[in-house]
């Protein structure tokens, strides 16, 4: 967790039941209840401590940008879906079965030959995690968060993305209420690829907008 990942209202949990306001005594009692279950299950050979630790680790570091790639690939092959995605992204993404957002709205911005979009959260690290998984470390860095607003082209160059001078760069600032996702351009020479094959081309960085989708 970085030093910028502090608590403030902008990023506060939306639901009251997420809050912890228990007394130390109550936590002690709950700790005992869980220990009892764990000991019982260990005795039955159903769980072991190391496996449990590993499991929490997996879920805490869950990377799920595949969902976003599926959204983008569908938009590339299905013009009706793309229209719905650009007008009401939250609903269109839910059509594919991806949800779990807690009150945030998704907005999808489309890259074209004239416009290149890039996403940031200048205040902290708001991020469309149901479609992109956890944010990369650099997304939370103060350097990225401030510089991409002031000089997006130089940041993009550092990611290996060079844009023509006549391309307009738009920077979108995510918040607790609105999470942006970039719909990258479909690369030339991919007309023969199936939707599943297209999904494999689309990586996280292209949906944040710091890179273009490349044919690998």
């Amino acid at each position: 967790m970085s030093e910028h990942d502090h608590d403030h209202h902008h990023d506060a949990p939306a639901n009251p039941y997420h809050r912890s306001d228990r007394s130390p005594e109550r936590d002690e009692a709950l700790t005992e209840r869980v220990k009892k279950i764990e000991a019982l299950l260990i005795a039955k050979g159903l769980v072991d401590k190391a496996a449990l630790d590993k499991l929490v680790d997996l879920y805490e570091n869950d990377l799920g940008p595949l969902n976003g790639a599926k959204v983008v690939a569908r938009a590339w092959v299905d013009p009706d879906f793309k229209r719905r995605l650009l007008t009401n992204a939250t609903a269109a993404i839910a059509e594919l079965g991806f949800g779990g957002l807690q009150g945030e709205h998704m907005v999808v911005v489309e890259n074209t030959p004239q416009v290149h979009n890039v996403v940031v959260c200048t205040l902290c690290s708001c991020y469309p995690w149901p479609v992109l998984g956890l944010p990369p470390t650099w997304y939370k860095d103060a350097a990225y968060r401030s510089r991409v607003v002031i000089d997006p082209r130089s940041i993009l160059t550092e990611f290996g993305t060079t844009l023509d001078d006549n391309v307009e760069v738009r920077v979108w600032d995510s918040s607790a209420e609105i999470r942006y996702l970039v719909l990258p351009e479909r690369p030339a020479g991919t007309q023969h690829l199936s939707e599943d094959q297209l999904v494999k081309l689309i990586d996280r960085d292209s949906m944040i907008g710091v890179k273009k989708v490349q044919i690998s």
């Binding site: 279950i37 769980v47 879920y59 944010p135």
Partner: protein, 101 residues
């Protein structure tokens, strides 16, 4: 893209009241027991000791019960309802007794 997903979407991406508490995508645990209770339930479901949908349904009911009196000030937190649900499901599966059944 080569990242293989090792977690189950039906667990990681539960929607509505049963959605895992997160902050910018990262799971939020206030105490170590919450982390243990999370891992035990997920581990048993991944082994097929119970269906995740059964646990989730129990969790939804448990959260609703906690919010019944005052939705803004529920009687217990998310992982307390989680623990209630875990105990209830384990009891149904006869996994909460000392006997090795």
């Amino acid at each position: 893209m080569s990242e293989e997903r090792l977690t189950r979407p039906d667990i990681a991406e539960m929607a509505g009241t049963s959605a895992l508490p997160r902050k910018s995508g990262e799971l939020v645990f206030h105490n170590e027991w919450e982390r243990r209770a999370f891992a035990i339930a997920v581990s048993l479901a991944e082994q097929g000791q119970f269906e995740w949908s059964e646990f989730q349904q129990q969790l939804i009911e448990s959260i609703a019960a906690a919010e019944r009196d005052d939705p803004q000030n529920p009687g217990r937190g998310y992982y307390e309802s989680w623990l209630e649900s875990l105990e209830a499901v384990l009891r149904r599966k006869h996994l909460l007794s000392d006997r090795a059944d």
